[in-house]
Amino acid sequence: MPNKIEIRELGISFVERRQRLRDNEHPVLSQGEAHWVFQGLNLEILTGNLVVILGPSGSGKSTLLRVMAGFIAPTSGEILIMDKKVTAPRPDYIFVYQEGGLLPWLTVEENIGLGVRQINDLEARRLLIENHLEMVELQGFGQLYPHELSGGMRQRAELARALILKPEILFLDEPFSGLDHLTRLKMREELLNLHLYIRKTIILVTHDIDEALQLADHIIVLGSRPAELRYNIHLQASHPRDLNDGNLAQIRKEIYYHLGVHYAL
């Protein structure tokens, strides 16, 4: 079984206005007009990698992530995850939302417990939840409701809810965009540690180039619509990374170039 995710000749087009409005990456176009987010996109991702997808607003990064997670059916082409075609959302490929993905009427514990609701042994279930609260450093906060937590804590709780399912792939859609700068940096560090610990595939969408350089094993840069692959690079540098290091600085320059910023540095 090949340990990779293959995107083959992927095409996605939206016709209906309603569908486009759901995706805030896309500005509203006139109704009824077919509009291609992707056309003939080919891509290969190795499992176990932390992959970062970069691109300007409206390049369809989030759409690509949703297609991979099975929420949107591709118009043409297909996606194979370890040789299995993606057709619908599954509990082993978990999508983590930008923010507000926790159910507000359930406590943190109950939210995290959703993924293991079939386990009948209450004590085993409680232990599992407790372990995952600890993993994201939220021990003692289990009884609180999401609105009683800070943004960073909510994001961590959502990660815990995803991790309890032991997913093969985690899809993160701009997970840290709602957080303040310091919390972002801290969450990056935690995500990296988590990845080193669980060794599962993490696919993360962001528009923050430094975030990508610091985290990724593999960076994918998408151009604007219809989105095409602009840049595709595997990074071997060990962590923690110094972004001013010659090689990384060069890659950063190239990414800026491919995103259309030529004189920023």
């Binding site: 929420f71 959302p89 490929y93 999508f95 939302y97 507000p104 359930l106 009683e148």
Partner: protein, 251 residues
């Protein structure tokens, strides 16, 4: 004096004013029973047990009709809220039936269900069905789509979706809808009891009128008002339970 005490004082003064005007009007016209007479009548009905009997009869009908409406309108509302095509199809019919006063159904109710409890219960059902159905449809439609994506991701079946997403999400709206529907039911039951039955507060009023006992008419009206008030308070209490805490404190 605290603010709360002031409010209570003003309320007492308003009540005293009403009683005074009432007493004045009663002694001047002679057709209107005086407050004392009404209180006497009320006491009489309490003592001989007839008030309790009629009140229980009315509450029984409201309970039956309301439960019938609740147990059909809530599932139907959830179904239509999650099924846009169905909602669109049925919306015209609902909007057409909704403005027809439940009282307009009285002749049909008697034709279909005869005399006795069934037509009265049917009228309560009609009265509380739409105030329950429409808010539920709307509330279900307004649940964030993201929650259903999570449900798909976590492999929720229908029962899980209802238990973890739909019901908690619409609970605040359901409580408000119950308040409105119960209010309307209580309005309608009195009218429904003026026909077709021999018990209930509505029957009490008609019977008192037929025997020219206006004091009992007013006494029954007072009881109806008080019970309506109590029902409303009861539902308001539900709003404060822990299940809804997240919504209240999140706002």
């Amino acid at each position: 004096m605290t603010k709360k005490k002031q409010i209570i004082l003003v309320r007492i003064m308003i009540l005293a004013g009403i009683l005074l005007i009432w007493q004045g009007a009663a002694s001047k016209t002679g057709t209107m029973p005086s407050p004392v007479l009404v209180i006497n009548g009320l006491a009489g009905m309490i003592l001989d047990g007839s008030l309790l009997k009629h009140t229980v009869a009315s509450l029984f009908r409201v309970t039956c009709g309301f439960y019938l409406a609740f147990s059909t309108a809530i599932p139907l509302g959830i179904l239509l809220g999650r099924w846009p095509a169905g909602e669109k199809t049925i919306n015209g019919l609902v909007q057409f039936l909704r403005p027809i006063s439940p009282l307009a159904w009285i002749p049909l109710a008697i034709t279909w269900f005869g005399i006795g409890e069934p037509p009265a219960i049917f009228l309560i059902f009609i009265a509380s069905f739409f105030p329950l159905l429409l808010p539920v449809i709307k509330a279900v439609q307004q649940i964030r789509p993201i929650y259903f994506q999570i449900a798909a991701n976590l492999n929720f079946n229908l029962k899980d979706k209802l238990r973890y997403i739909i019901i908690p999400a619409i609970l605040p709206e359901i409580v408000t809808a119950i308040r409105v529907a119960l209010g309307v039911s209580w309005l309608v039951v009195v009218a429904a009891e003026m026909i077709a039955v021999k018990t209930g507060l509505g029957y009490l009023i008609i019977e008192a009128r037929n025997t020219l006992r206006l004091d009992l008419v007013i006494a029954a009206m007072i009881v109806i008002g008080l019970i309506g008030l109590a029902l409303d308070h009861l539902v308001l209490r539900i709003e404060r339970i822990r299940l809804l805490e997240w919504k209240i404190s999140a706002k």
